[in-house]
């Protein structure tokens, strides 16, 4: 809970090492604050993100999960981000069956230069989830 008593969502974000993690570092370099609700897990490529990780994060109380990848065509392992996208699409369908709406599990692309975009994605997602409250246990 934040100081003002409002709901503060917890977001687990999987960032690929080469573009998105660098994009988050870039946002750091700009030294402009964004909500601290996101906890970053570094993976070499978004293609490493096993749907199981996402389910496990939700099961342990995450309010949202974010996968950030290199832009299409820019993956440092050729097509890992395409795999990630395919898996994300399928998983979104499954999650909806459990009542987890798509806003809670987002995938997006952030390049090493897009610090500003990274900030925007985090800020937006936190705002959306603040309105949605916590998932039921």
């Amino acid at each position: 809970m934040s100081a003002n008593g409002g709901f503060e969502p917890k977001i687990i974000a999987f960032l690929c090492n080469w573009c998105s993690y660098a994009g988050a570092d870039k946002a750091g370099g700009m030294q402009k604050p964004y909500p601290p609700n996101v906890h970053i897990i570094r993976v070499m490529c978004s293609g490493r993100v096993d749907p199981h990780f996402i389910l496990s994060a939700f099961a342990q109380g995450a309010d949202g999960v974010l996968i950030l990848a290199c832009h299409p065509g820019d993956c440092h392992y050729k097509e890992g981000n395409c795999r990630a996208l395919q898996r994300h699409r399928l998983l979104s369908l499954v999650l909806q069956q459990f009542g987890i709406v798509s806003a809670r599990c987002r995938m997006d692309y952030v390049s090493a230069g897009e610090g500003e975009k990274f900030r925007r994605i985090i800020t937006e997602m936190v705002e959306v989830l603040r309105k949605r409250e916590a998932l039921p246990e």
């Binding site: 897990i41 993976v43 490493r48 749907p51």
Partner: protein, 655 residues
């Protein structure tokens, strides 16, 4: 996996005030009491500085932790530095996890308490993860440092000679009977109009009889047949067609050619001259030894002719009429592909008359016409033997065209200007009309030739930007009518400048080597800008126009670039190191479903059909983890990023 009682050290870098201002080390220390295994927390002022590193290493040596968490800046800045410190402190570098509390927390969180809270969460995640990290070691693999070069054009020759100079053994495979590629048959090269064979001569000399040519095994009329193995340890099978003339015994006197009774039309000369069954492909060809075309030789049509053999002044052994095809096997560590390119077949464009009208030539045919060893001895004449009063040069044939070649080949305009120059030099009165979609003259040298063509009295340029190609039709008096846009001109000769396309057989070679091609069919680079000399497969390098249309200067440079990779990667007496943070299949759990190999971008996963299991080649794997996530049986471990480690990190973050 680490059991209970693991000693974990958390090293907290203040980074001057960068981190300390926003995150309280004391609060972290306090919180760490609730972490599993109760880590100790040490603070360092600037852990990346020299004194910081000393302090870190000293503490590691003193404390001897089992696992280490470094909470500091981004691992992109200093993971390597920290890993080296661990190694210096006698701890396996893979037993450390870095937490980015500067870029991703201190610098981006307004409120000090919330920054501290976020840092504690992140460090807790790292502690959970690091407990499960395992010591990993780089494996060493012995390698063969010999290199296979495919294609003896400018790029391949440069590569072979330079490798030999560096002391490497080279197998140079060339499918034609001669070396030098396409340009060795040209007369002058753009942009400076130097003589092509003269420019290539020293390089060809180095290759055939230079100080290091002993180290080069040149196989002509040869093609790669099969490749097995991987980077550092390939086995190549090469199919060699019979030349019937020994490169070692032959002195190139041509007595056999004179004596040979069988003839055929010379395709290089637009069928304008004759060739013998045993003959040179063109005058001055190297190696200076003729070859025998079985499809023309009488002996292969049932006769017992041996005129060539009898005429040879060097004895019985030079010409071997019974020589058969052979399959050679060579061990090599790396492969350089330098197979060059070809021309777009302009006969695919209806209305351009290519293949129908005898005075419509493509650029290669015109190059042969310009060559002093060509069908006209360098004379520019029409099929009826006349000097052309008007010539149309048509650029961008098949280029900049989504239906054919959706790219600009970059060199056609330049040789078109060269053609303009060559015609002008001989026949200043000949009218030349250039039809083009775009005109390009990149680089520091090309403009002069373009300007010369543009300012020439009898030259004009017509821009065709409607997307339609000029239409060429016979005109009553035996001349040609060229209609481009709405302009009609009359010409005696039309020269087409078609797009540069992948060489014939590029598809077969790609399939054989398991490397990718781009949408135009050229070999695909590992990364178009950062790693353009490497193919998608480790240890297979690309040089020259097999990768992208380019001129000779660039092809030679690319030959050297590929050599750089081969020399840097494979060194005599040095093993290659295999990154340990790669994938591994637990064969006992593998169901043999092939999903992993279908998602692997590096062809690093092979299937053992006897045991019905997949396995990952550690030399080829780059550790992306896509197969790990894909395996439905959970049979693949992505070392240093295992499921257990990542799940533990998630657990730690959400506790």
């Amino acid at each position: 996996m680490a059991g209970g009682g693991v000693k974990i050290g958390i090293y907290f870098c203040n980074c001057g005030s960068n981190i300390a201002d926003k995150i309280s080390a004391d609060a972290v220390r306090e919180a760490s009491r609730t972490f599993p295994d109760q880590p100790y927390v040490a603070t360092v002022d600037f852990i990346c500085s020299e004194s910081g590193q000393e302090q870190f290493v000293e503490s590691l040596t003193f404390e001897r932790p089992d696992r280490v968490v470094v909470a500091a800046c981004s691992p992109r800045d200093h993971e390597g530095t920290m890993q080296h410190c661990l190694a210096r402190g006698g701890i396996n570098p893979y037993l450390m996890q870095m937490v980015n509390i500067r870029e991703q927390i201190a610098w981006v969180t307004e409120d000090r308490d919330r920054a501290t809270e976020k840092a504690i969460t992140a460090i807790r995640g790292a502690v959970y993860r690091v407990r499960l990290q395992e010591p990993l070691r780089k494996k060493q693999v012995a390698v063969c440092t010999d290199v296979l070069v495919i294609g003896a054009g400018p790029a391949g020759m440069k590569a072979a000679v330079s490798l030999a100079e560096a002391g490497r053994s080279v197998v140079l495979v060339e499918r034609s009977p001669f070396i030098g590629g396409l340009p060795v048959r040209f007369d002058e090269l753009f942009p400076a109009l130097e003589c092509a064979p003269c420019l290539l001569e020293p390089l060809m000399g180095e290759l055939l009889h230079g100080d290091h040519s002993e180290a080069i095994e040149l196989l002509t009329l040869a093609e790669l047949w099969q490749v097995t193995g991987f980077y550092g340890n390939f086995i190549a099978k090469i199919k060699k067609k019979p030349r019937h003339v020994s490169l070692h015994g032959c002195i190139g006197c041509g007595e056999c050619t004179l004596a040979c009774p069988a003839t055929t039309r010379n395709r290089l000369h637009n069928n304008g001259s004759e060739q013998k069954a045993v003959d040179f492909a063109f005058a001055g060809m190297l190696p200076n030894a003729p070859f025998l075309r079985e499809e023309v030789c009488l002996r292969f049509q049932g006769s017992d002719c041996r005129a060539c053999k009898d005429a040879c002044p060097m004895g019985e052994d030079v010409i071997d009429l019974d020589e058969g095809e052979s399959l050679l096997e060579r061990n090599i560590g790396a492969i350089i592909i330098a197979t060059g390119a070809g021309l777009f077949d302009a006969s695919r464009l209806a209305g351009m008359g290519r293949g129908m009208l005898p005075d419509v030539y493509d650029a290669l045919q015109f190059e042969h016409m310009l060559s002093s060893t060509g069908p006209t001895g360098g004379g520019i004449v029409t099929s009826s033997g006349e000097v052309p009063a008007a010539v149309a040069i048509i650029h961008c044939v098949g280029s900049l065209d989504g239906d054919h070649c959706a790219y600009c080949s970059g060199i056609c305009c330049q040789y078109a200007f060269k053609f303009n120059h060559a015609i002008s030099a001989k026949y200043p009165e000949t009218v030349i009309t250039h039809y083009h979609r775009e005109l390009v003259a990149p680089g520091k040298e090309a403009y002069a030739l373009m300007e010369a063509a543009r300012t020439r009295r009898n030259s004009s340029f017509i821009r065709c930007d409607s997307g339609n190609y000029p239409v060429i039709t016979p005109e009553g008096t035996g001349r040609l009518q060229v209609r481009g846009e709405d302009v009609v001109t009359i010409a005696d000769m039309v020269i087409l400048c078609p797009a540069i396309v992948p060489a014939e057989g590029a598809d077969r070679l790609a399939a054989l080597l398991d490397i990718n091609r781009d949408c135009a069919g050229f070999y695909d680079e590992l990364q178009g800008r950062m790693d353009a000399s490497q193919s998608t497969l480790k240890g297979i390098y690309l040089a020259g126009a097999c990768r992208e249309p380019m001129d000779i200067q660039k092809a030679l440079l690319e030959g050297m670039a590929a050599v750089g990779h081969a020399l840097a990667g494979l060194q005599p007496g040095r093993m290659i190191e295999v990154e340990p943070a790669t994938a591994e299949v637990a064969t006992s759990r593998c169901a043999g479903c092939h999903l992993c190999s279908s998602v692997c971008p590096y062809h690093a996963i092979s299937f053992d059909s006897e045991q019905h299991v997949s396995s990952v080649n550690g030399v080829l794997c780059r550790g992306c983890g896509t197969c790990v996530a894909a395996c439905p049986a959970g049979a693949i471990t992505g070392h240093h990023f295992t499921n257990e480690q990542i799940l533990a990190e998630i657990e730690g973050l959400l506790k």
